[in-house]
Symmetry: D4
Subunit: 166 residues, 8 copies
């Protein structure tokens, strides 16, 4: 059983969404990836969603830019939680995608992360899956500690740099 499906409307999104895949790997979470469109291959997208849900998938991460209908359309086709990632780009730099993903009508939410925040989409997925998985919870806590340690290390670097200046 693969718990996370990562869908994107265009293979050009892959470069950004690899950050999602990397963080899922980091947390030892299996995923499958699907390139499929809400407009050009809607039936195929819907079929994949149903199949993914039937095979025991737990949540879907959907990335889209511009009008960015993909996360919302998928959210309408499943009761699995859908995490939406607005892609940066175009004249509006992703504000269009953000509004289109987050402003869903009553009844069909999409859990939206920041513009281009592929990494956070993966971490949110891990947090959702960790509910009944003590080991994943521990990995998340370790990750938090690692991030904290990194900041402390960076602080150290800055302190050293400032001392040398004097």
């Amino acid at each position: 059983m693969i718990p996370v499906g990562v869908v994107m409307g265009s293979d050009s999104d892959f470069l950004v969404m690899e950050e999602t895949l990397n963080i899922l790997v980091y947390f030892d979470i299996l995923y499958e990836v699907k390139v499929s469109s809400a407009h050009r291959t809607l039936e195929r997208t819907l079929n994949w969603v149903r199949q993914f849900e039937d095979q025991g998938g737990k949540l879907i991460i959907a990335a889209a830019g511009l009008a960015a209908h993909l996360p919302g359309v998928i959210a309408g086709a499943t009761i699995l939680p859908v995490i939406g990632v607005p892609m940066r780009g175009g004249a509006l730099e992703g504000v269009d995608a953000l509004y289109s993903i987050v402003q869903m009508p009553p009844g069909i939410p999409v859990a939206t992360v920041g513009i281009g925040a592929a990494r956070n989409a993966g971490i949110l997925a891990a947090q959702i899956l960790a509910q009944d998985d003590q080991s994943l919870r521990q990995r998340l806590k370790n990750h938090r500690m690692k991030m904290a340690a990194e900041i402390e290390a960076k602080d150290g670097v800055i302190q050293d740099k400032l001392k040398k200046k004097l």
Copy 2:
């Protein structure tokens, strides 16, 4: 054969979209109305689109607010021209709907009119249908003359008002 289909995601849009219906009636254009959602009743929406196209429908007007996926999703399911009407409302007053409808990805356009511009959606539909319909062309030309006359009449009212002031 009914040439125009008017779809809206919520019956609350009907009050605004009645302006579309009124202008279609004014131009003697038959229409059918469908309340159906891109998220809550997607299959039903897609079925209606296919049926409408099969029965010789010529174009679809789709109104939606907030994330406003309806026009784009319909545009992906038909090669008929789709006119999108961003509905005013919510915290963003329809800017979200405008971006979500107009910023469609390459390949699947939506002919977008102004925020809440239900009347213009109907006129645009008439203009598209008038291509090979001399009578409708004439009605459109008459409507233009009527609008021009209205402005001239209003100008007259203002001129009178200003004269009285002196």
Copy 3:
């Protein structure tokens, strides 16, 4: 064990957030409510978060307006999923709150719903909790069917209204 914690920075948010509570009741999900601030009672907020997590809480819904730091600050203090609800209001009508909640830095995501979308926050919570709860999944599916039926009913009302017009 209470799975959902609903936090708001001000009791004035309660009127909107009651929609969240109502939908949680609808799905038979237990919740507790906390009025606490990210700035004025930060320690108290953090203590509540830790206690809620220790007692087996599963996820937190946090609502905030204006600078809207509450969801992000809570997200930094727990590995539970945090759903953020940007409250409408102020001169920027909630765009400030949306940006402040959704644009979290790498590492600490907040699952953001639309501006004022209190009901969707509750549904998203249900979807997240339904992962290993077949009964809740069924209730979510029923809710979807109910929403679909409502739209069909509304479509019927419109069709009747249009027939009477003729």
Copy 4:
């Protein structure tokens, strides 16, 4: 008879608008191009519009940036459908052009596509012209299938890439 007129206010728009011409060629649709301004050569623009309409033209695609009055001014001078393309550029990156094109007053619609969406303008033109042209309808359907196949092919490439990673 040439069905499509493509107007732009500046020859600097030509580079982007070539995408429109390419897609029209792809669909075997004849076009003529006119560089003319809504402000600097208004009479000439209006004369061209009248002539184009008199010679049996079917629709006009008008591209403009910044204040972007060209599509609207043309729309006021003809009852042919006018497709407006907001050009990206300037300090506002085309948001000014989008608003100026889409927010037309009641009575004179412009069928607006996305910022810089020259290709979609051509496809929308094809969809409008296909109303009574079975052959063009078929070409549009083939184009849809081609786009779907492209996405499936891209999906295949990604699947291969992911397998190699393992």
Copy 5:
């Protein structure tokens, strides 16, 4: 000879633009008013502009909302200075009109005042006309002194109110 022409696209703008007329009266400047549209009565608008210029008109104030093409179109048809007044209204509250009026292409400027700033349009007109009119210059200086005196008077009222509080 009437130096100032005040044009508006709709008689609904008259209520706001009366502020312009009042300030012109205050400065003893003659004006004529024209209700005419950039789209619905373009020829009539252009004819009026030419006639106004031929009869020795000195400058034109043009008010418009939404896509707000009127000031720019007039500016293209005359070398008289054109003052543009973006009207508040619609979903975008006049931001669309502001962008559409101020962001004119190189070669054809419009002297833009604030959203709904009808009074300032009249004062700007007076300042432009005052170039070679010592009497009008004096009236403008007197108006400045009057405004300054009003602020000082208001300051006095506030000082009194504050003293009473103590």
Copy 6:
């Protein structure tokens, strides 16, 4: 007597504002330039304004970016018409400067041109000065004809390019 004063808050604005100077030279209009700030050298700015007005100056062009107070502050210190040029730059790309220049309070207008529209500022100045200067009016009309001819020439280039393609 020098009719036009061109003020900028920083010498870094000079590169853009040279376009203004060039167009003034083109129209044979004398100007003087002043680098002076609304905040860092306010008294000096005000002194220059008074001196410029006393020596028979006719209008002032003021360029500023970011908070962009310079045009408004000058407008408050003179009854000469002030043309404001919002400079592009900073994180907001000149939207801040546009709002700050155009949204002047009742009583003190600034004639605002587009973001970075230095050339239009010069043309607007020429239009204002042309009121009682038949020769300048003629030069403005010639400039219009030249711009129109340029567009026709560009149209010719495009037509040639398209013919070669066939």
Copy 7:
């Protein structure tokens, strides 16, 4: 010696700015109020600023709406800290004022608070003045505790309300 000067460009701002005065009274901080404009009474404003600084004033709070130059102009005329309050209102609801106040050029900062945040301006003033005033520091700490207690009390009210519901 009066430490705080509160300046506003219009007496219509007084209603909002009374919140500032009330919080200053609450913290036992003396203030004087000045209604004076950056454009209509600039000299008078500058004179007041110099006089206020000479008499030992410690900081200035300046409120302004629309183009909102007042805080920045005052900041340029003194080295006292200037707190800027963007007033809500007009078509842009205070976004113009916010940008105009906060986006000051390098060298002349304005300490900006939120749109309409008159109360926070007063608190910030108290925080700045408390540097060397142990008693005021204590009052600020008490105020913090009072705010915290208020939230806890509101939480209690909500808990009671929820219990009654059950």
Copy 8:
């Protein structure tokens, strides 16, 4: 005793914030720097704030981008004045950070400077600290005179350049 603490959420902010440090050095003001996060190392941040305040710190400058909670969270933890610097970057170019920092709720102000305005943050700090420090006041006045002289020098350069042109 070190009067100024400069906090940033990421060491990548250091490059920009060095401008703050340089201006503090210029004014002979001691500072300490802390790299610490509002989300990843909240406790550490709060501990530092308390320690800084206990050791007699006078004010804190906090820089943050994106959701930018750091300045607000610190402001909630101390009664020292907090100067917030919204960092430019991300898809929204710092508008998110600006809103998140300036739109603080009633009771907890942050003294916000412009997007990326690191230098102004340092000058504002100096202005706040100068209250009871005649020497620092003098340095601030000298800095103002230096800035004025720089503008006059730049004006001279431009005047020379223009003369050579003739």
